[in-house]
Amino acid sequence: MVIKYFSWIREHIGKSEESFDLPSEVTTINELINYLNGLNDKYKHAFAKRSLIKIAVNKTYSPIESKINNNDEVAFFPPVTGG
């Protein structure tokens, strides 16, 4: 699985991208966030305000309950501010 981070979420976590094998018990975005939060406090800090986290699975906006698998590209980012 590839995970991408943008904007201040990227800064909190300290990297823009990482890839690893998804543990078999992690099957949704929500579980993925819980899993990452267990790794260290940087993730906890980045994901603290759930309502500010937007999620994309394979470059498409997706809800937090979305099913994911090891071939997916998941992205976490704040509400967009372009234009």
Partner: protein, 158 residues
């Protein structure tokens, strides 16, 4: 109104500036009678905090940005009879008074061009994955999402 011909669609994410006159020439598809442009310009003040901005930097999600803008543009071409749409969004470092975004919509009829352009801008503001960080002396500050932009999209929900 439904579309009649296949519209020309051009979407570019680039650090270089753009020239509206040149872009408008490329929008001359299928004899449009009307072109409406939106040009966004970097302001030198953060209005909420009344602070000066020295520069702005834009980050985006390559691949997803293009997909999201394409979806928005195609939706506009379903809603209105539009002959061509160009969207250019700049990334990287920009200074106050720089052009940041261009949306050009061509149509036979002016109201279609106005509505299509307005629609694309409203959804681009809420959907396209760009993030701005403001630089003021040595301070960096990520721009916060403006809830008025969400409100603006409500006029299209019918």
């Amino acid at each position: 109104m439904k579309k009649k011909n296949s519209p020309l669609i051009d979407i570019k994410i680039q650090s270089e500036d753009f020239d509206v006159t040149k872009e408008n020439k490329k929008l001359h598809n299928n004899q449009p009678g009307a072109i409406v442009n939106f040009v966004g310009i970097v302001r030198g003040v953060d209005e909420k905090k009344n602070e000066t901005i020295d520069s702005l930097s834009l980050e985006h999600y390559p691949g997803m940005t293009e997909l999201e803008i394409e979806n928005i543009v195609k939706e506009s071409c379903q809603r209105w009879d539009i002959s061509a749409v160009t969207v250019i969004h700049r990334i990287g470092k920009l200074l106050p008074s720089d052009q940041i975004v261009f949306v050009g919509v061509a149509s036979k009829h002016r109201q279609n061009a106005f509505d299509g352009c307005n629609f694309v801008m409203d959804w681009l503001k809420t959907k396209a994955p760009f993030w701005k960080v403001e630089e003021n002396k040595n301070k960096k500050k990520w721009v916060e999402f403006n809830s008025l932009d969400n409100d603006a999209t409500k006029k299209w929900k019918t």
